[in-house]
């Protein structure tokens, strides 16, 4: 039942039918998968470019990063896929119209510290949790 139907807009070679045809196709799948697979992308939020250097003393900005990419069957390639993401994928394959694929989202987040002035020229040093994406995975 998993391979019963194929969505018209999914012309990438990662459907279960094609994946099961043989090793050649699996190789094709892997090569395209590498380009679009869920992974971390670099994104720098610059406080300096926002024109905030008069009140933010440090840092000048931070590498926030973001996650983007496909979480497609099979999830073996996605080393950070959660166990539930595998179940989610299977249910999606059985009912693609109603059940979404797992999401590409952060699996590891780190904190940053920001040093800034308030309106009274007092200085605040604050830790902000979960600001930097260190790793992405399928959830």
């Amino acid at each position: 039942s998993v391979g019963r139907r194929r969505q018209p807009n999914r012309n990438r070679s990662n459907s279960p039918q094609e994946a099961s045809k043989g090793s050649t196709h699996t190789a094709d799948y892997n090569s395209s998968d590498q380009k679009t697979a869920c992974r971390k992308h670099e994104l720098y939020v610059s406080f300096r470019e926002l024109g905030w250097q008069d009140w933010i003393i440090a840092p000048e900005g931070y590498a926030a990063n973001y996650c983007d990419g496909e979480c497609s069957f099979p999830l073996n390639a996605h080393m950070n896929a959660t166990n539930h993401a595998i179940v989610q994928t299977l249910v999606h394959l059985m009912n693609p119209e109603n059940v979404p694929k797992p999401c590409c989202a952060p699996t590891k987040l780190h904190a940053i510290s920001v040093l800034y002035y308030d309106d009274n020229s007092n200085v605040i040093l604050k830790k902000y949790k979960n600001m930097v994406v260190r790793a992405c995975g399928c959830h």
Binding site: H41, E42, S46, H110, D118, N122, K126
Partner: protein, 261 residues
Amino acid sequence: GSSSVLDGSELQPNFMHRRLRTQEKREMQKEILSILGLNHRPRPHLNSGKYNSAPLFMLDLYNSMSTEEKSDVDQYRSLFTTTRPALASLHDAEFLHDSDMVMSFVNSVENDRELSPQRRHHKEFKFNLSQIPEGEAITAAEFRIYKECVTRTFRNETFLLSVFQVVWEHPDRDADLFLLDTRRLWAAEEGWLEFDITATSNFWVMSPHHNLGLQISVETSSGWNINPKEAGLVGRDGALEKQPFMVAFFKVSEVRTRTAR
């Protein structure tokens, strides 16, 4: 354009991107301010120089935090003993380790008031604690004042420095003071003096109308009151990097959720 948050150079080549419109940029700024827990962009008044003692102290703490991603106190210890113990001490490193936020407060007293003859040498200090974010509880607070060496005038002299909390002010007589701490100082001594004002700061936060500031007085060993400046204590007219200030360490006391805007 070039000042947009989404800088093309940081993105993958196949990522379709565009420059943010002015309104979008404003919205983006609002969103980032919201992440930082701020309602608006602060507008500090930095007339007396950007880097006086309080920001320098905070920068010391910041540098110690940013060079570590480690978490145990021993690592803070080694960091503070091997790198730059100039302003921040081991004491501060331990507070820092347990804190979610640190805040420094500049002295907001601009002119000496006319005090009674008995207290003519007292110096006043006031700190504006009104902008402490909600949900933050003070775990430690210090009043810091710098002492310079004064051996020329007072060779081998010792001084008694007293720090008071101003409890109540009266229109017709001296304010009621509560003695917080005393310290004996050598004339030749030089460096930052730290006074624990944790209880006082918590009281000021709970009851802002009682925040009437601190006073200090200095006595010689023979019991004469002298101007703190004569004992080497740096006041408002001293070097910027030696200005007295207050620092408080906070722990988040409640779970903060961002509300929809």
